[in-house]
């Protein structure tokens, strides 16, 4: 579609998005009110909304969100430090890069969350397991993007430093790292989302609190409106995170 066609309708993009969501919610609501959709397993949006209010008023959702946020943030921080260092190593050592990069890529596409029992044995039934799983989950994209960014620095920029006789350290910190930063940051953004997914996933599995556990618990009690409220809230939080980090990235890299 051309941009002219879009501007002719004079509907801003956000409004078009909202309309689609409202339309789908409307079909859902009507469907379960009139019995086309089973209202027990798929409660109508209005019921979900009231359940959400209930969760907020009881304070369940804020507590769960705080814990999940703490776990995901810690996991992503650890994943970033280890992942960028590992990416640097794969970039620096040609042999290691050739040998292991495809493993990391494979790990990035594997459902790592399934090895949680192993972590449960290592770290015990406590938040450390969840944080470790989150950190592990967010590492592959961070490693791959860090390596890609460092590999992809244009040779001419490095030659500028070489012509100035820069020390290896200055060459890295003054040229190579800032040049690779947009790609590295991109990896961290993807990694953060992977961390949230893994953290919520493991919370769901091992009953230690957080949004994932809340969803599992409400489902077990057949409180489906509240369970859906929890699921939609997790989706909402992820989307907000994605958009916020996108903003942050644009702001940080506004000069390029």
């Amino acid at each position: 579609m051309s941009s002219a066609a879009i501007s002719q309708t004079r509907l801003p993009a956000w409004l078009m998005r909202t309309l689609v969501i409202l339309f789908l919610l409307g079909i859902w609501e009507a469907g379960s009110q009139y019995g086309f959709i089973n209202a027990f397993t798929a409660p109508p949006p209005s019921a979900i909304f009231f359940a959400f209010i209930r969760l907020v008023e009881a304070g369940d959702i804020t507590r769960a969100l705080a814990l999940t946020f703490f776990e995901a943030f810690t996991a992503a921080s650890i994943g970033t430090i280890v992942g960028v260092a590992a990416g640097y190593f794969l970039h620096r050592s040609k042999m290691a890069g050739l040998a292991y990069t495809s493993w990391v890529a494979a790990a990035a596409s594997a459902p790592l969350v399934l090895i949680y029992p192993l972590f449960l044995v290592i770290f015990g039934r406590n938040p450390a397991t969840i944080i470790a799983m989150g950190a592990l989950g967010c590492m592959p994209p961070i490693i791959l993007k860090a390596k890609e960014g460092l590999d992809g620095v244009r040779p001419v920029l490095l030659n500028v430093g070489r012509a100035l006789n820069l020390s290896a350290r200055k060459q890295f910190w003054m040229i190579q790292f800032p040049a690779a930063l947009p790609t590295i940051f991109n990896g961290i953004r993807i990694g953060l989302l992977f961390a949230i997914i893994n953290v919520v996933g493991v919370e769901f599995l091992i009953s230690l609190g957080g949004l994932g556990y809340m969803i599992a618990y409400l489902g077990d009690r057949f409180d489906y409106p509240a369970m859906y409220a929890g699921i939609l809230f997790v989706i909402f939080v992820s989307v907000v995170f994605f958009l916020l980090t996108e903003r942050l990235e644009k702001w940080l890299l506004s000069s390029r």
Binding site: R154, L164, N165
Partner: protein
């Protein structure tokens, strides 16, 4: 040919280079010997694939593995030398730095205090005609402006010898002419010894004291032409009879090499 009265600031003795590739070795450069005086502007012109960029990378110290010797002030050098600055053909400004921070970069790397480096960078930006653009990022500037930033950045650490590898190749003809004038003006102001790699004949005549014509691979110096046009010069010279005479003389020599290069390149392409 000019006789060198003072000691050369830059001397190449039998500099040669053979690249070893999986398909055998390629002789890129036959032995080249050359003396350049302080303040002299020389251009090296040749067909694509004559090894002129190889020569520049050797002199600039980016290529270590070569035969022969490069001397600065009579002292043999290997690797990058602080008296030699390079301007590259490709866009080489740092996109994460503003214009002034780009120019200040070499001074920042060598620990010049902030105040001093910013004031010097400001002067250099004025020298290349970019005052008022200090706080702009490269992405906000045109290709010609970015190349001027790169030139100013190279001048910032006061190299006595300036190497330029087709610095205007990516620019349009008019920008190229105006930028050539700028480079001439700077070179005359600073009495900068300059070695320019180019494939543009008019540019070589406009700027140089001497034009060195290189043969097609393996490159060697085929002919040296002294350009005896009065200085200070500018692109206004281009209409002159003498200018045209030099261009014709250089093309006369270059034509044969360019033809040979073209045939060989096309042969290689159809053969593969």
């Amino acid at each position: 040919m000019n006789t060198v009265t003072t000691n050369p600031v830059l001397r190449l003795s039998n500099v040669a280079k053979t690249f070893v590739t999986p398909n055998g070795s390629v002789r890129a450069l036959d032995p080249v010997s050359l003396d350049i005086r302080q303040g002299e502007f020389i251009s090296i012109i040749g067909p694509s694939g004559c090894g002129k960029s190889t020569l520049m990378n050797i002199v600039g110290g980016l290529l270590d593995d070569y035969d022969g010797e490069v001397q600065v002030d009579g002292v043999p050098v290997r690797g990058c030398h602080k008296e030699i600055g390079m301007v590259f053909q490709e866009e080489s400004t740092f996109p994460w730095r503003t214009a002034i921070d780009n120019v200040a970069f070499p001074m920042e790397a060598t620990g010049v205090p902030r105040e001093e480096r910013l004031s010097r960078a400001k002067d250099l930006l004025r020298l290349v005609g970019l005052d008022g653009f200090e706080q702009r990022f490269p992405s906000e500037l045109s290709g010609g402006m970015r190349q001027r930033i790169a030139i100013a950045r190279t001048l910032a650490f006061k190299p006595r010898i300036l190497l330029m590898d087709e610095p205007f190749a990516a620019l349009d003809e008019q920008t190229r002419l105006l930028l050539g004038d700028k480079v001439l003006q700077i070179q005359q102001e600073l009495n900068q010894t300059t070695m320019l790699i180019t494939h543009n004949i008019a540019e070589a005549v406009q700027l140089s004291d001497r034009v060195l014509i290189m043969t097609f691979r393996p490159g060697r110096i085929k002919q040296v032409i002294d350009i005896e046009l009065p200085r200070p010069r500018s692109s206004k010279l281009m209409g002159g009879e003498k200018f045209g005479h030099y261009v014709a003389a250089i093309w006369e020599d270059l034509r044969e090499e360019a033809t040979r290069g073209l045939l060989e390149m096309e042969g290689a392409r159809s053969g593969s």
